[in-house]
């Protein structure tokens, strides 16, 4: 294990504040801790002396990209700037806290956020993924909410690469092993394989929690004399430097200092911590609370102090340790999991301790809030930290990184599927073969091999889960009030045009929530990009933020919080393949007055009319067809039409409320063919459709009709007696609507083109992932 701070004088001789002032020229390992020379100089300027070893540890983790958002901060402000008062209508807590909180009515509120744990999940897939789930769940607990569901957004390298299975098995069992043990239903997510994620898998996790309005808790340390209490797991030597080093530089060839230990999760501890915290909240013995994640105690103390009255004193000797040999810097940087820090009034302390003891949760009072304006930390009776907490938590460096449209972007955009002359299938046999090939391809095949390893039933409130378009969770058992969640991101679209790609991610998640019948309310995002020091990647990030912020404004849904993950690239800067595909994962939360009316993505009954809402254009660049059949990526992504998405959503939500829609499935990767197959396979009932009306109306051929990925389209199944009402509603909203056919039988029949028996389709759809990953 690396222990940079132990390069300070040997243990009994602490590097105290006094010592730092007395020995100003002592060399310090700031570079190894991820700090640049100018950043180190800035710390010296702030303190008026060199930092102590412990202070250096704190600044280095808190000023890392991961904790300070130093490269993205100036651009992330865009989200706040483009939020209108109208968009804030349902927002109880916005960006900047552990997670945003949204009002869903009847006194209920929901908090949700998506976060990344990418780099650790490549180094140690099981623990990286497990602690990724653990971290986002603690964010939700910190807001005062009971966590009620999780989702995972996973991206891996090529399925055929020899290293992919290692990462897939570890990550899936890590997400499952941790989430299942917490009693949180996993209600959906994403699973994508693409060579661009080789060596840089993306493991994002979303958690949603429920609370009453009056139960909102925030991370601040107010009230002079209040106690600072650390509870949960003991502090150990795991994850030291993880936040700083893993998130600061790409992996360099074999330098051990760049391979710090990944944190180790204990889901049992976290489950106990959830229940314990909820009991503490109910007893009203918590003034402020913060979970310990990246940068551990450094982060929790400096953030709590600077968000509150500004002063705090901590005695490190009172921190309960798993390993008594840890030095001060290590204790401050440790990212041991399952820990929380609370601010407690002295007169409530006894009751607080009684509750943690009832749950067998170890608890230590480690400090006190004061009005000094300083964060002071003692160790072995000596002062080792004396800083203004704001300079640690909020006033880190902010960079205006250079960015520019990549040199290769124009060539990429010019080589669309038509320009590249990709052969398109025309005969019925070729179209059938294409549909089955796409259905069996790893990114479009059934994800059941993954989702069957996750508990989706626990808590008894899951109304819809994967493979439905959105996950739907009941919040109020009396009324049936609940929420729908969907997340999306298409990295291939992002590569072709990051601005449009981000807007498309939002459009798809928004559409999926509406497809389930929910009114979209709010957004969370996890921006996964390459190195901010590479102007190409930086341009992608800036473009994506602009695109997402504009799209949020147009759809009227605010970003409430999220996360940025940079340095997801291992290639030579400046090349077309130097980084992952830009992957802005966008999660949308919607509300339903009664989740029992949520609309599933497939049909069960025969005799339902099948209609398509929206317009189909010749949009195959970046499509699943181009990828699976031709291994091609070039051109421009499908057009984004947010006005059309808004109108479509209003029709879908209205139809759910009116009870006029039985099933609905959005059209995205793989187009209409994929949607027809998936909706039929959902409950084993076939469909018979004709493309003639569609090809005539939209001026497209059967291939385009079946495989185009034009947006703002949804397939719906309605009872014959409801068809007129749905058609009228669509026409009233200006949404093009066309009847394609009728459900029934045991095959997907496209009249005059092809017929696929469901048994054959099921084998193609469900066989792929088990065959590859067993």
């Amino acid at each position: 294990m690396t222990a940079p701070a132990s390069q300070a004088p040997s243990r009994p001789q602490l590097d105290t504040v006094e010592n730092a002032a007395a020995h100003p020229d002592e060399a310090q390992p700031f570079g190894e801790l991820g700090l640049k020379p100018d950043e180190y100089q800035r710390i010296k300027d702030i303190l008026g002396r060199r930092p102590t070893a412990a202070e250096l540890a704190m600044y280095s983790v808190m000023w890392s990209e991961h904790c300070s958002y130093k490269s993205s901060k100036v651009h992330l402000r865009t989200f706040g700037e483009r939020v209108t008062d109208e968009m804030k209508e349902h927002l109880l807590v916005g960006i900047g806290e552990n997670a945003g909180v949204v009002d869903i009515g009847d006194g209920w509120a929901v908090t949700f956020k998506v976060e990344s744990h990418n780099h650790p999940s490549f180094v140690e897939p099981y623990q990286g993924a497990a602690t990724g789930v653990g971290g986002i769940v603690r964010d939700i607990i910190s807001m005062g909410a009971r966590p009620v569901a999780i989702m995972d957004q996973l991206r891996f390298g090529d399925v055929n690469h020899p290293d992919t299975a290692r990462v897939v098995h570890g990550v899936v069992s890590g997400v499952g092993g941790y989430g299942n043990s917490l009693g949180l239903p996993n209600i959906g997510g994403e699973l994508v394989f693409d060579a661009s994620y080789q060596g840089n898998p993306l493991v994002n996790a979303l958690c949603v929690g429920v609370l009453r309005h009056e139960d909102i808790h925030l991370a601040n340390a107010s009230g002079i004399g209040n106690k600072v209490v650390l509870f949960g797991a003991r502090t150990g030597g795991d994850g030291i430097g993880g936040a700083s080093i893993l998130a600061s530089e790409t992996f360099e060839d074999g330098v051990p200092a760049k391979r710090p230990s990944v944190q180790v999760g204990d889901p049992f501890m976290e489950k106990v911590l959830i229940e314990c915290c909820l009991e503490l909240y109910a007893a009203k013995v918590v003034e402020g609370i913060q979970d310990l994640g990246a940068a551990g105690i450094s982060c929790a103390t400096s953030e709590l102090a600077s968000n509150g009255d500004g002063g705090m004193h901590v005695d490190l000797d009172d921190v309960l340790l798993r390993d008594p040999t840890l030095n001060a810097g290590e204790i401050l940087m440790s990212e041991s999991q399952e820990r929380m820090m609370a601010v407690v009034r002295p007169d409530k302390l006894e009751e607080f301790l009684a509750i943690t003891s009832r749950w067998d949760v170890e608890t230590a009072v480690i400090g006190e809030v004061n009005d000094s304006g300083r964060l002071t930390i003692d160790h072995h009776g000596q002062r080792i930290v004396d800083v203004d907490p704001r300079t640690v938590a909020h006033e880190g460096p902010v960079y205006h990184r250079p960015y520019a449209r990549p040199a290769w972007q124009d060539a990429l955009n010019a080589s669309g599927t038509v320009a590249a002359g990709l052969a398109r299938p025309t005969s019925g046999g070729e179209l059938r073969e294409t549909a089955l090939t796409l259905l069996a391809s790893p990114n479009l095949a059934s994800k059941a091999w993954v989702t069957n390893q996750y508990d989706r039933f626990v808590q008894g409130n899951t109304a819809l889960a994967q493979p439905d378009d959105g996950g739907v969770i009941r919040v109020d058992e009396t009324t049936g009030l609940g929420v729908a969640l969907a997340t999306d991101a298409n990295g291939r679209y992002g590569k072709l045009d990051p601005r449009t790609g981000a807007a498309l991610a939002l459009a798809e998640a928004y559409r999926n929530v509406a497809t389930a019948g929910a009114t979209p309310l709010a957004v969370t995002d996890c921006l996964n990009f390459g190195s901010p020091e590479d102007p190409d990647s930086m341009w992608q990030l800036v473009e994506a933020i602009e695109g997402l912020a504009d799209a949020c404004k147009e759809l009227g849904v605010p970003v409430t919080g999220g996360n940025v993950s940079l340095y997801n690239g291992t290639g030579e800067p400046g090349q077309v393949d130097s980084s992952i595909h830009p992957t802005p994962v966008v999660g949308v939360l919607g509300v339903l007055d009664d989740v029992r009316t949520a609309v599933p993505s497939g049909w069960r009954e025969a005799g339902l009319s099948v209609l398509i809402l929206g317009v189909t254009r010749d949009e195959l660049d970046g499509s699943a067809w181009a990828d699976v059949v031709h291994r091609h990526l070039g051109g421009l992504p499908p057009r984004v039409d947010l006005a059309a998405e808004k109108a479509l959503a209003s029709v879908l939500v209205g139809a759910r409320k009116a009870g006029t829609v039985t099933a609905a499935h959005d059209l995205s990767e793989g187009g209409l063919a994929q949607a027809l197959l998936e909706s039929s396979l959902r409950f084993g009932t076939g469909v018979s459709v004709s493309l003639e009306g569609l090809t005539a109306r939209d001026g497209v051929d059967p291939f385009v009709a079946l495989f185009s990925e034009s947006t703002a389209r949804v397939l719906v199944a309605v009872a014959p007696e409801s068809e007129a009402a749905l058609v009228a509603a669509a026409e009233g909203a200006g949404v093009p609507v066309l009847r394609l056919g009728v459900t029934g039988g045991s095959a997907v029949v496209v009249e005059g083109v092809f017929e696929v028996p469901l048994d054959e389709a099921r084998e193609a759809f469900e066989g792929t992932l088990p065959r590859i990953f067993g």
């Binding site: 069992s173 043990s181 049992f268 069957n452 039933f457 008894g460 409130n461 069960r604 409950f683």
Partner: protein, 237 residues
Amino acid sequence: MTALTGARIGVITFPGTLDDRDAARAVRLAGAEAVALWHADADLQGVDAVVLPGGFSYGDYLRAGAISRFAPAMSAVVDAANGGMPVLGICNGFQILTEAHLLPGSMVKNDHLHFVCREQSLVVENASTAWTNQFEAGQRITIPLKNQDGQFVADEHVLDELEGEGRVVFRYDGWNPNGSRRDIAGISNARGNVVGLMPHPEHAVEAGFGPAGAEGPRAGTDGLTFFTSVLASLVSA
């Protein structure tokens, strides 16, 4: 559900229990009062029956259920069960019952080594226990299954004895999801008041939130019959 009001059914929470709130909901939907019991408290508060819900008590870091069996509440449950009180152990609760020797055998890791979550079809083999008397023998039911350590194992002579005495209460129908001996999903004690099974009846009690049923997706409520059965057995007792 007549004459069933007034029945009080305890649901024990151990550290790491996950399905206690679901079990309490199932009890309420069946028409009884759910009483929250705490592992560290030996007082069963005079309940008429007890449910040991699913979860990962103590993280399953030792053998599943091996620590929970020593809880003060379990001493009381063992005494009450020996006195004839109905006890249902679901998943981790089943594991605790075997560790407490109220039921024979044990559960080891699934043969395929993965956690498995699915809508599981079961055959009700014994419809005369305290928890199954409202089913028909041979009836096929569907309730969720979700576990990592669900493979039921026991010595051959124990398995023969269970079969011979009609104490195999549920068998997996179709695919055996974890490699359990003789497809056994649940068993009872000789008296029929203590039943343990790996699948989760408490997740199939409410239309809209369970497995698929005859009425449509998520409409299955076969699990509710476990709880109406115990109420019937309490009335007839």
